[in-house]
């Protein structure tokens, strides 16, 4: 018995996924549990395991294709099973046309009787449906063809949609030249009729250049839109980020509080710790120290470790610290769970692993959710102060700027001190200026005098 490979529902928010890569090809043996292919969700790239052991006998969507969740994208045949697709392939069907010269039977001309047991008409929802043979339905589902695309094309007995109708549809799709996404976008924007565009070489796809050519030849293109540009489609991840950023600004009332703090003692503390560490130990960063400090301060300012959904404020007992990470796919925020119960060394270790996997794209959706407070550090990129965006339903986010050595007044004298910029954004719907400032003050006190952490 062959087993269908389904696209798993990996994202809470999306009902399509993009296939990134197949790790096996047709004919390869696969083992249940082995990674078969990878998909991209809005949050991460994930591996999908094979549901069975056997031979991969059919692949219905390839790298780069966007597929519906729970659709069939492959088939695994039992080892030893005849190695062919479970249903007849397109080649087989070409002979199944209605035989020429044979008289049409009366059966073909009949329409389908839609009366109930006493001859009464059946309700519309019962009869307003497509009549297709089970075999045709199975093939259509396998190929991802919505049956509604076959409406009116039934050539079987009593105008049933049958297998050859599905195969004919597939053939028709195949004989249309493919269009690259870029070319399609360009055609949409410029109003070019793709059915009038030919690919540069027969059998290849229509590219942006082909669309441009047809534009310049004036074949059906309007006179405007002359400057060239490159259209880029958003990835699912980027789309999600765009949406969430916009929502954040629409929903919350963000106010950012900025100040500088003398971090000289913290810098020295860190240097001392680094000296004592072994060669292969994890080196705590300023972010790690700030996480530690923020957790301590949050315990005195529980209002900032909270969720607000517009109605209710949820004060959270534990601090799950989200860290903003800039990845190639876009901004991600993996979460250190129960950060308030961990020491700096452990925080550093967890942070290192999380960020590493986030950058690689192997972090799991669970690890990207559930944060109660966010820290974002743009210091390494030279930013002193900025206005970090809130991550609803969180009510606060702390931005860390760079540490500069500048002359500053210290104990009445001009000294070179290490000064760090901090930017705290709070949701003014539930956190007013003074409480926010008090929180920031407590953070800064601990940065200035790390010894006070003992209290």
């Amino acid at each position: 018995m062959s087993v269908n490979v389904l696209v798993p529902p990996l994202s809470q928010t999306m009902d399509t996924l993009v296939i990134v890569e197949w790790l096996k090809k047709i004919g390869d043996p696969v083992t249940k549990g082995e990674t078969l292919f990878t998909v991209e969700t809005d949050k991460a790239t994930l591996e999908v395991e094979s549901p069975a052991t056997g031979i991969l006998s059919s692949v219905l969507a390839g790298a780069g294709d966007e597929v519906k969740v729970r659709s069939i994208i492959g088939i695994i045949a039992e080892p030893g099973e005849a190695f062919e697709e479970a249903l007849t392939s397109v080649d087989n069907s070409l002979n199944e046309n209605y035989p020429p010269g044979a008289p049409p039977s009366t059966d073909r001309q009949q329409t389908i009787n839609v009366a109930g047991p006493k001859g009464e008409p059946l309700p519309p929802e019962r009869i307003n449906r497509l009549f297709a043979s089970p075999r045709a339905r199975q093939l259509a589902q396998l190929k991802g063809i919505p049956l509604v695309e076959l409406r009116g094309s039934g050539t079987g007995p009593r105008q049933l949609i049958v297998e050859r109708d599905v195969n004919a549809y597939i053939e028709r799709q195949k004989s249309r030249p493919r269009v690259t996404p870029v070319a399609r976008r360009m055609a949409e924007m410029t109003g070019v009729d793709l059915s009038k565009v030919a690919p540069a070489k027969p059998g290849t796809a229509i590219t942006k250049a082909d669309v441009e050519t047809s534009l310049h030849e004036g074949s059906g293109a309007p006179a405007s839109a002359q400057s060239s540009f490159q259209a880029i489609r958003l990835t699912p991840t980027r789309k999600t980020i765009a949406r969430r950023m916009h929502e954040s600004h629409q929903i919350t009332a963000p106010v950012t509080y900025m100040r500088e703090v003398d971090a000289t003692r913290l810098v020295k503390l860190r240097e001392r710790i680094l000296e004592k560490l072994s060669e292969d130990a994890i080196r705590p960063t300023y972010t790690d120290f700030l996480v530690y400090i923020t957790c301590r301060v949050l315990s005195k300012h529980p209002a900032l470790n909270a969720y607000f959904d517009g109605e209710t404020v949820e004060l959270h007992d534990a601090v799950h610290m989200a860290l903003a990470v800039d990845t190639a796919r876009g901004l991600m925020a993996p979460v250190i769970r129960d950060a308030d119960s961990k020491g700096v060394e452990e925080l550093a270790r967890i942070r290192g692993d999380l960020i590493d996997r986030t950058l690689k794209g192997t972090v799991t959706p669970n690890e990207l959710a559930g944060g109660t407070f966010t820290i974002t550090n743009l210091g390494a990129l030279g930013i002193d102060h900025f206005t970090p965006i809130l991550n609803p339903p969180q009510v606060a986010i702390l931005g860390i700027g760079r540490i500069r050595e500048i002359p500053a007044v210290h104990k009445g004298k001009i000294r070179i001190r290490s000064v760090m910029g901090l930017s705290l954004t709070c949701d003014h719907r539930v956190i007013d200026g003074a409480p926010a400032a008090r929180f920031l003050l407590d953070i800064c006190n601990l940065i200035e005098s790390p010894d006070l952490v003992w209290l």
Binding site: N92, N95, E96, N97, Y98, P99, P100, G101, A102, P103, S105, T106, D107, R108, S133, P134, R135, A136, R137, Q138, G156, P157, L160, V162, E163
Partner: protein, 337 residues
């Protein structure tokens, strides 16, 4: 290899089994009479000379006694090959077959068995309603009976031998127009297929069907005379671009279900051809099995071509309309394309 008619093949099977096992004997009307026919269709011709009248036992016209004695002697340790002259007469021994032979093993909790064979010729041959039926369906419905229907000389010999060696009651349906009986007993309009039959010992297993003609567009299931009509129809259909897969089940009980299901999975279309009346024929059972177990593979409704629900008529023109013709088979196939 020898070339034989079906009657000869059956005779050879009986001869070999009787030589091999002294418990085997034949019982029926007119089967051993000196100077007689050797049974209505010559199958037992000459056997009483070879084996004597004790082992080729002629009976009065007593179908109930033929069946009852077969049953009793089988329980008592013999292996009888009984026969009726026309399958229509099976109804005269219905109680013995259905209430006794089929049930005795079960009622005994499996402590006894009834290893008997009952042979019966079927098919319409211008003799009128009471000598023309194909009543297999009456018996395929009875738990406890095995039913075979050999359509070739090879299968006739192999299946009859298997039936004799089977420890259960086996009904063997033969077709009057396929015997190939010669001389005074030859049948008008008969097909008389001559087949190659190996000289050495072989058996055809009960419960195994065979694909007579492979194809990919429609599965046709047919037995006995209808098998040959289906094969002719398949040739005509091939000229129209339709390749039919013709299956001869050879055994109706136990049915080779997997062969038929596998074929329908391949072709998506099923037609059953039987010489029996349409309603509640054995074809209906196969249609139900396929609708249940291969539903997802069907590309068209399941069709049956059978005799109309009337007794077999006499006049040749009426009989031709009654018995499914090659054209009716072709039309049925085209209607599901």
């Amino acid at each position: 290899m020898a070339k034989m008619t079906i009657a000869e093949a059956l005779r050879q099977a009986i001869r070999e089994e009787m030589q091999r096992d002294e418990r085997v004997f034949c019982i029926g009307e007119d089967i051993g009479i000196e100077g007689g026919f050797g049974g209505a269709f010559t199958v037992t011709l000459g056997l009483s000379q070879e084996f004597g009248h004790e082992r080729i036992l002629d009976t009065p016209i007593s179908e109930t006694a033929i069946a009852g004695v077969a049953i009793g002697s089988a329980i008592g340790g013999m292996r009888p090959i009984a026969d009726v002259q026309y399958s229509d007469f099976l109804f005269c021994m219905m109680d013995q077959l259905v209430n006794q032979a089929a049930k005795l093993r079960y009622m005994s909790g499996g402590t006894l068995s009834v290893p008997m064979v009952m042979r019966a010729p079927v098919g319409a041959t211008a003799r009128g309603s009471q000598h023309a039926q194909s009543p297999e369906a009456f018996f395929t419905h009875v738990p406890g009976l095995k039913i075979v229907a050999p359509a070739t000389a090879y299968d006739a010999k192999g299946l009859l031998k298997s039936a004799v060696r089977d420890d259960n009651p086996v009904l063997v349906f033969e077709h009057k127009l396929l015997y190939g009986s010669k001389g005074a007993r030859s049948e008008k309009g008969s097909l008389s297929p001559i087949g190659e039959v190996p000289e050495e010992e072989y058996l055809v297993p009960i419960g195994e069907g065979v694909i007579r003609r492979p194809g990919k567009d429609v599965t046709i299931v047919a037995t006995l005379l209808m098998l040959y009509r289906a094969l002719s129809a398949a040739e005509s259909l091939s000229n129209q671009g339709i390749e039919a897969e013709v299956i001869d089940p050879r055994t109706l009980v136990p049915l080779d279900k997997e062969l038929i299901l596998g074929s329908v999975r391949k072709t998506g279309r099923l037609l059953i051809v039987e010489e029996d009346n349409l309603t509640n024929g054995w074809g209906a059972e196969i249609a139900a099995i396929v609708a249940d177990e291969a539903f997802m593979w069907l590309d068209a409704p399941i069709k049956r071509v059978a005799a109309p629900d009337v007794p077999p008529p006499f006049a040749p023109v009426l009989e031709r309309e009654y018995v499914p013709s090659e054209q009716k088979i072709i039309d049925a196939v085209l209607s599901i394309f």
